[in-house]
Amino acid sequence: MSSQALVVAHDLAKTFDVSAPWLNRVLEGKPRQLLHAVDGVSFEIERGTTLALVGESGCGKSTVARLLVGLYEPTRGGLRFGGQDAYAAFKSPEAKAMRKRIQMIFQDPYASLNPRWTVDAIIGEPLLEHGMIQDAAELQARVAELLQSVGLSALDMPKYPHQFSGGQRQRISIARALATAPEFLVCDEPTSALDVSVQAQVLNIMKDLQRERGLTYLFISHNLAVVRHVSDKVGVMYLGRLVELADKHTLFANPQHPYTRMLLDAIPKMHDTGRARTPVQGEVPNPLNPPTGCSFHPRCPLVTERCQTERPLLRELKGIKIACHAVS
């Protein structure tokens, strides 16, 4: 556990109570239902690097993203940011100082900008909120600067979001996120809703900005090809747990966990079609009622007795972290 890492998440968990209303439960005898969206996730991110979290629907990666920016409070576990206890900071009077350093970019370019606000108001809001500028002229200058850094122009300032395309809106979101000069950006599927050529533009900008400003990214995605392009380390999630966490090259060249292998095999590839594949079995189970023990065991080709009863913990194995009984 290096203490150099900027972001250290330890045993983060978030449970949602999705039970039916109290009256229904009493009258119909329904039990309480708890959704363990994130069930004990730990990782570290070094300054200036990108950790990608991949997984399919229901794996909890979006919830992890929201836990890291303080939109949710964890049910258990903690987060250390730059050596400080982040959740304590969020609740203290110094919350603003912490929030300045962590920002987020969202998936939907149409819903991430307030349709009734002009672009300069949208980008200027964080600046005003944190008291970072003195007067209107300085605000205009800073906003123009931010727009230019993402490839848009100062002439776009009085326009409304609906006058821009999806890719441009996502760039405006990035400009807004950079307004407070943060150190850490959580990106929740930032290019999933964009066309391929536009995605390339946005990913290139993000990489450039990371290099220029020494930003640290947590990049959430379901698209393994994109992840391979942008990340340094990759974590694979399944039903709220991390099953494998490794350096990018190692993970893609030599995946260890059966789920990672299955995922990599399933991706339709442009240049490697017609290869032999492991047949994919089953579907992601209902997160409200996950399998016992290792949650992947019903679909796993390497399943044993132990997998059905005992939950595997994330352990070090030859330089990577993996949660699997069969591969150890």
């Binding site: 299955m262 590839k269 442009m270 994919v280």
Partner: protein
């Protein structure tokens, strides 16, 4: 004989800002049993092409000119009643969202048997047997019991299998699939495109697969048409289009897709964006963004002509028009 022939199809949308051409003179055909992919980015017009063929173009959109011929029969000017007989029996449709493609109030079995009996003269029992067989063929376990289940009792991937079964129920010769796997998880996606491929080949149905995902196209299709701003810019065998494209847009597109095999610092980007319908440039629609543009591109619009291994609409290609 070609199963489907689309010739110089033009689809327009009259609006208060003038008439917008969403599809501007596209021509292609599909052979029986072939899988043709139609790929392009948002706004290119690929979904509209599918909708025009099935006859589900939403007004005020309308087919302004050109023709769509199915097995020698012209269907583009058919009334809704006439198209009703074509839909299901000759053309089956699969849409993106399996949740809204199925009626939540009827059992899955009832919806399939209804489709069968609407087009084929079979008894109730025979229809039911066929439905069970279809569900089995699409990989739904315990098909006989699941006939009586409602759509909400199936998971996303299973529902899409039911939709495929329904599309094939009346034994059509052509299936139009509009983004059939976009809403599904990666692991399920692989299962569904595998299923689509085998089941259509088995039944001899041709498929028009509309999607923006080149990986899916690469794994499934025989040929692919690349659309841009309502026009087809390149068409040809799938591996040729991917590996040896002739049109600058196609090559730019292929280079901007992050891929599992190559390692690049920057992805190739095509600057700018697809033009809006009311601002399509004169000449070649791609000319403002093309790295190899020259004078003629801005004046005259190129038609599809034979290139190295495909057909492409570009003035860089020597030779006469197709």
């Amino acid at each position: 004989m070609r199963l489907l022939q689309v010739n110089k199809l033009v689809v327009e949308f009259p609006s208060r800002h003038g008439t917008l051409r969403a599809i501007d003179g596209i021509s292609f055909d599909i052979a029986p049993g072939e899988i043709l992919g139609v790929v392009g980015e948002s706004g290119a017009g690929k979904s509209l092409t599918g909708a025009s063929i099935i006859g589900l173009l939403e007004p005020p959109g309308r087919i302004a000119s050109g023709s769509i011929t199915l097995q020698g029969e012209r269907i583009d000017q058919y009334s809704n009643d006439q198209m009703r007989h074509i839909r299901g029996r000759k053309i089956g449709a699969i849409f993106q969202d399996p949740l809204t493609s199925l009626n939540p109030l009827y059992t899955v079995g009832r919806q399939i048997t209804e489709t069968i009996q609407a087009h084929l003269p079979v008894s109730d029992d025979e229809a039911k047997q066929r439905a069970i067989r279809l569900l089995q063929d699409t990989g739904i376990p315990a098909a006989a019991e699941r006939m009586d289940h409602y759509p909400h009792q199936f998971s996303g991937g299973m529902r899409q299998r039911v939709v495929i079964a329904m599309a094939l129920a009346a034994e059509p010769q052509l299936i139009v699939a509009d983004e059939p796997t976009t809403a599904l998880d990666v692991s399920i996606q692989a299962q569904i495109i595998g299923l689509l491929k085998t089941i259509c080949k088995d039944r001899g149905a041709a498929v028009m697969l509309i999607t923006h995902d080149m990986g899916v196209i690469a794994e499934t299709c025989d040929r692919v048409a690349v659309m841009y701003a309502g026009r087809i810019v390149e068409i040809g065998p799938v591996h040729e289009v991917i590996n040896r494209p002739s049109h600058p847009y196609t090559s730019g597109l292929m280079a901007s897709i992050p891929d599992m095999t190559s390692d690049r610092e920057r992805l190739n980007q095509i600057d700018g964006a697809m033009p809006r319908l009311n601002a399509i440039p004169q000449g070649c629609a791609f000319n403002p963004r093309c790295p190899q543009v020259f004078e003629r591109c801005k004046q005259e619009r190129p038609e599809l002509r034979p290139a190295t291994a495909t057909q492409a609409a570009c003035w860089l290609i020597p030779g006469g028009a197709v």
